[in-house]
Amino acid sequence: MWKILTQIAKKGIRSEPAPTLGPEEGIEAGRIQQELLAILGRALTIREVDAGSCNGCELEIHAVNNPYYNLEGYGIKFVASPRHADLLLVTGPVSRHMAFALKRTYEATPEPKLVVAIGDCGCDGGLFGESYASLGGVHNVIPVDYTVRGCPPTPLDILRGILAAVRVRHESGQ
């Protein structure tokens, strides 16, 4: 136990802009947190759906949860069921075999709901495009509110995308 406590104390709170974080990134992360709270005023819950990615985007979505980006510190968390979710974070391309499960997940998510498509493949199919096995971008299967480009997008881009989607919905008054 002593070793664990020592290690925790030594590691410190990494969510503060650490020396390895550029000053710009630190400011950016702080701004995201404030905006999210101002717009939502409450927690945001996310259900992640991998609809056919190469798994690269999932690695970066995982990273958003690490102590540096500290997603939960903003009042945002990933949940295990679409029925508990405000927002679907979907990576693509949507494989033909995942289209049905993606639609079912979308239908199971209560209104009002947001969909953010993650990565070049989620946006338009990316390198995989459309074929007998790939339906391309997420928007070909379910309505999409916001897209985040990148192969894969960085964790900070994913954070920005989540916030932007909330802001778009807020401004459209829905």
Binding site: G56, L59, N66, A80, T105, F128, S131, Y132, C151
Partner: protein, 515 residues
């Protein structure tokens, strides 16, 4: 190469690894597989090609077999027009799903096989639709479909019930379906159904120029992008009769070892978390984030995607970058040693790890468990040690093995592999040769090339066939094909809540398997 007394004419491919190609008939196909199995060899991959419009004039089924001498790539042309080949499932159990996939993609059947269920095809492709056949463009838009029931094997008995899980899982995980048959909390049987992520990558390769294919190869499984890109480039370089300049080869190895460490760091954290030890996740994820950020700073990409290119690498390293990598190696080594001590000393954690998800060495050998998980069950193969290419031939790679085959053993192997990879990176950086980063590749001269690289999960194999300026066939094989069926055995007798822990200790690829 010699396989027993089989009179096969082998052609050695111009590669840094010992890979031989030969054409066989049906009897030799089976005899060769049996000879390799009897000699302690393994099945690396099995795939099919439509070569009706090539020299062979027919469908061809191919198998890659590993022996102590190297890799034997055997082609069986079905020149009599009978779309059957001898089933290898009885010799190598992991052939079964590979053969089912060959049928789905090409419509050729293993003769005598008993499991003929669809695998990559989820039962909704039109009856005559085999995407790898020449008459298919791959660009077809298939109609919407009804959900087709998959005949899972039923477990009968008092109090037995099923838990269906997936394809959309509770965490941030790739999609796949697990069907548990349980009594109480105890798992009697697990059956996997995969193929949800099938994106038609094999067919898509046919639309790529050979010089561009490395980008697609690097996206077969994102967590192994370096291994795949290297394997693809190795195959293409073999075809062009070129080798990467020494500096490029050394930088490739730096990237590959960094990929191995990044994945082990992430998984060791997640393994702590799955045993309710969130401290481990937070600590390891910090280390992983630092690791990826340095990748971004020095190589321009957090996972080094598209940094390995045909003929060499698309990155360089200056003295300052090299010093930063060395400094990070020192920090990570110190931190991981502390964390390992904490993991080792933590009774609750070890209680969850030890004897959970056990694959005995005997079962592992029988089923063909491979890669990191194989080494944790005493299956001592590691391409970096067995058939070292430049620069591994100068590093004396120390293979890490364990014999217990449980979650704890896989955790130990991962810890030890981190330390070994850190040592390798230091050696690589201290001996980094000067010189060019990329060799010009002549247009491909041969028809067939192969690549075989020890990724963090295990051996990534690429079989490449080109014709002029286009790819005729590119088969990318993920070691998960071997290990997914073994996971079904690893969970038997354990309780359902241990499944996430067992699954994570293997951390197999869905994308790499489904392609």
């Amino acid at each position: 190469m010699q396989l027993l007394d089989l009179e096969l004419v082998f052609e050695r491919l111009p590669m840094p690894l010992p890979v031989w190609r030969a054409t066989v008939d049906r009897a030799q196909w089976l005899a060769a597989a049996q000879a390799v199995a009897a000699g302690g060899g393994r099945l690396v991959s099995l795939w099919g090609s439509d070569r009706r419009d090539s020299a062979e004039g027919c469908f061809v089924v191919s198998v890659a077999l590993a022996t102590g001498e190297g890799l034997a790539w055997l082609d069986l042309p079905l020149s009599d027009g009978v779309l059957l080949y001898p089933d290898l499932g009885g010799v190598f159990p992991c052939a079964v799903r590979l053969q089912r996939a060959v049928y789905d993609l090409l419509g050729i059947d293993p003769e005598g096989a008993t499991d003929l269920r669809y695998w990559l095809n989820h039962g909704d492709w039109p009856g005559d639709f085999y995407p790898l056949r020449r008459e298919c463009s791959g660009q077809e838009r298939l109609d919407d479909h009804e959900v087709v029931d998959y005949p899972f094997i039923k477990v009968e008995g008092d109090g037995v019930h099923e838990i269906p899980v997936g394809p959309v899982h509770a965490g941030i995980i790739e999609p796949g379906h697990f069907r548990f048959s349980i009594v109480g909390e105890k798992v009697l049987r697990l059956e996997e159904r995969l193929g949800y992520k099938h994106k038609g990558i094999d067919k898509l390769f046919e639309r790529q120029a050979p010089a561009e294919g490395y980008r697609l190869a690097g996206r077969v499984s994102g967590d192994s992008t370096v291994a795949y890109a290297w394997a693809y480039c190795m195959a293409l370089e073999a075809l062009s009769g070129a080798a990467p300049p020494p500096r490029a080869a050394w930088l490739r190895a730096v990237l590959l070892e960094r990929e191995r460490i990044a994945n082990h760091l992430g998984d060791l954290g997640a393994l702590g978390n799955d045993a309710a030890f969130a401290f481990g996740l937070a600590q390891f994820m910090c280390l992983k984030e630092d690791w990826l950020r340095l990748n971004a700073r020095l190589f321009g990409h957090r996972f080094a995607m598209d940094r390995i290119v045909p003929g060499g690498v698309a990155v360089d390293l200056d003295a300052e970058g090299g010093a930063a990598l060395l400094e990070q190696c020192a920090i990570v080594e110190r931190e991981v040693r502390i964390l390992r001590q904490i993991y080792d000393d933590h009774a609750g954690l070890q209680d969850r790890f030890i004897t959970t998800g056990t694959v005995s060495p005997r079962l592992a050998t029988q089923l063909g468990l491979t890669g990191m998980a194989g080494r944790a069950s005493g299956v001592a193969f590691d391409l970096r040690a067995d058939f070292p290419v430049t620069p591994y031939d100068q590093l004396d790679v120390q293979m890490v093995t364990h014999r217990n085959g449980d979650v704890a053993a896989r955790v130990i192997v991962r810890f030890e592999e981190i330390f070994e990879s850190l040592r390798l990176i230091r050696r690589l950086l201290h001996g980094l040769p000067e010189g060019a980063l990329r060799a010009d590749l002549a247009p491909p001269q041969g028809r067939f090339g192969a690549g075989w690289v020890e990724g963090w999960r295990g051996g990534v194999f690429v079989a490449l066939e080109v014709e002029g300026e286009r790819i005729r066939r590119c088969h990318c094989h993920d070691p998960s094909w071997q290990n997914w069926p073994v996971l079904e055995h690893a969970v038997i007798g354990d309780i359902v809540p241990d499944f996430p822990l067992i699954n994570k200790s293997f951390n197999l690829s869905y994308a790499g398997h489904d392609r």
